[in-house]
């Protein structure tokens, strides 16, 4: 079965539909599947529920899907960098579910592993636990959280082979590996596409079984949100 598609549009052909749930990898603007998000924007698909740690920034990544009002609901841990997001949320046009970041990551991991729910200490005694089952184990209280799955996951990797094996680079890994496991269809964009055998099997983070479609994104654009430097010591 051929997994490699020539461009993002064809890699998403047939999998997009209104009202679907999409997981989108990345932390801030680091490791985001930007080319696939732009293709989702161009498709015009709407009423989306998007599961992503953040919501992009104005004009970039998920910020684009907010501009076009294609997102109905976000499930995120932090959305602070996006003015359009704030406007739509305060106007009641956008639904928002906050998850603690570790709970979000574990919900996705669990969803991908066939685990429908788990217990965690995170959020006990806070509004996050309201309406959820709280149980005591070994004298400590834990709140039940549900596994998360999606119709589609879009992820960004550094290297991939034609089998769908993926390797990530530095902190651009973040949410991508779990999301790749937790959707009916996972589409990966990769900066470098290689033949089987060219990746070190010991270094593969996402095994190809999780990845249905791959698209090679040459010269992927990358963004820096907070360029921070140290001064060079005077010579």
């Amino acid at each position: 079965m051929q997994k490699v598609y020539s461009d993002a549009k064809s890699a998403l052909a047939g999998v997009l539909k209104d009202g679907m749930t999409i997981m989108s990898g990345g932390f801030g603007l680091c490791g985001i599947p930007e080319t696939l998000i732009e293709a989702i924007r161009d498709s015009g698909v709407k009423n989306l529920t998007v599961i992503s740690n953040n919501a992009g920034v104005d004009g970039v990544a998920l910020g684009l899907l907010l501009e076009t009002r294609q997102i109905r609901k976000m499930i995120s841990s932090y959305v602070g960098e996006n003015k359009i997001f704030a406007q739509q949320y305060l106007a009641g046009e956008l639904e928002l579910e906050f998850n603690p970041q570790g709970t979000l990551a574990e919900r996705i991991r669990a969803g991908g592993a066939g685990i429908p729910a788990f217990f965690t200490k995170t959020g006990v005694g806070t509004i996050i636990a309201e309406g959820k089952e709280v149980r005591t184990f070994d004298g400590e209280e834990y709140v039940m959280e549900r596994g998360l799955v999606a119709d589609l996951a879009v992820v960004h990797a550094w290297k991939g082979d034609t089998e769908g094996n993926l390797i990530y680079r530095k902190t651009a890994r973040n949410f991508n590996p779990m999301m790749a496991t937790a959707a009916k269809v996972t589409v990966a964009e990769v900066e470098h596409l290689v033949e089987p055998g060219e990746l070190n099997p010991d270094a593969i983070v996402t095994p190809g079984v999780y990845v249905k479609r791959i698209v090679h994104v040459k010269d992927a654009r990358k963004h820096i949100e907070q360029r921070t430097n140290r001064k060079r010591a005077a010579a």
Binding site: P100, A105, T122, G125, A172, Q226
Partner: protein, 222 residues
């Protein structure tokens, strides 16, 4: 004469121990990395998936694939490892990180912490704060003793009970403010203790600016 931001960070840094794995929050807590004592090995964890965080890069050496949890460009070290967000929070929630230093809006005398939302205002989200305070072995809050609004009103931040939504219940072990240092017996029923005063600050100054009940347990000046 209260402590400056840097002096607060330096005081929080005295909670570091050799071999510690530490997560630092945004703001004053980030400054703590400037006060790691020479010869002490401390590994900094960044919850977006990195252990062994290096300093900020020199100009021209930024890597968009290498950022900290505040989305700032950073560098790696020979000891660095990278991992997914699920692995990162397994590390945090599984109790493998020794110390979390973070900011706060309010802290209660029982160790309750509020630092993520003000009802009625646009909420940015809790990020990893709820996971950190629930999972890390020791939690140190660094914050201004009171909140001063632009119109001059002053609101106390060390309270009997937080009135903002909680980030965690009974999670704070120590509070470092610009006026002094408090320790909290978060698993017991003992009172919050005032253990240090910033130079020039009196216990009466603290009482006037603190709603929370506390007992004096001042140590001899360090």
């Amino acid at each position: 004469m209260a402590w400056t931001r840097d002096e607060m960070a330096a005081r929080a840094a005295r909670e570091l121990r050799d071999g510690f794995y530490v997560n630092l929050g945004i703001g004053i807590p980030t400054l703590v990395s400037n006060y790691i004592p020479a010869g002490m090995k401390v590994s900094l964890q960044s919850e977006n998936g990195m252990l062994g965080m290096g300093p900020f890069p020199y100009e021209g050496e930024e890597d968009p694939d290498l950022i900290n949890a505040g989305k700032q460009t950073i560098t790696e070290l020979p000891t660095t490892s990278y991992f997914s967000s699920a692995d990162s929070f397994a590390m945090i929630r599984g109790g493998h990180i020794d110390l979390s230093i973070l900011g706060a809006m309010q802290v209660a005398e029982n160790g309750d912490l509020a630092n993520w939302m003000i009802p009625g205002k646009m909420v940015k989200g809790m990020g990893g704060a709820m996971d950190l305070v629930a999972g890390v072995k020791k939690v140190v809050v660094v914050m201004d003793h009171v909140a001063r609004a632009k119109d001059g009103t002053v609101e106390k931040k060390l309270l009997h009970r937080c009135n903002l939504p909680l980030t965690g219940a009974r999670v704070v072990d120590m509070v470092v403010t610009d006026m002094g240092v408090f320790v909290i017996d978060k698993h017991g029923s003992g009172p919050m203790k005032l253990i240090e005063l910033a130079p020039g600050v009196t216990v009466d100054d603290i009482r006037a600016n603190t709603e929370a009940s506390f007992v004096e347990a001042l140590k001899a000046a360090a």
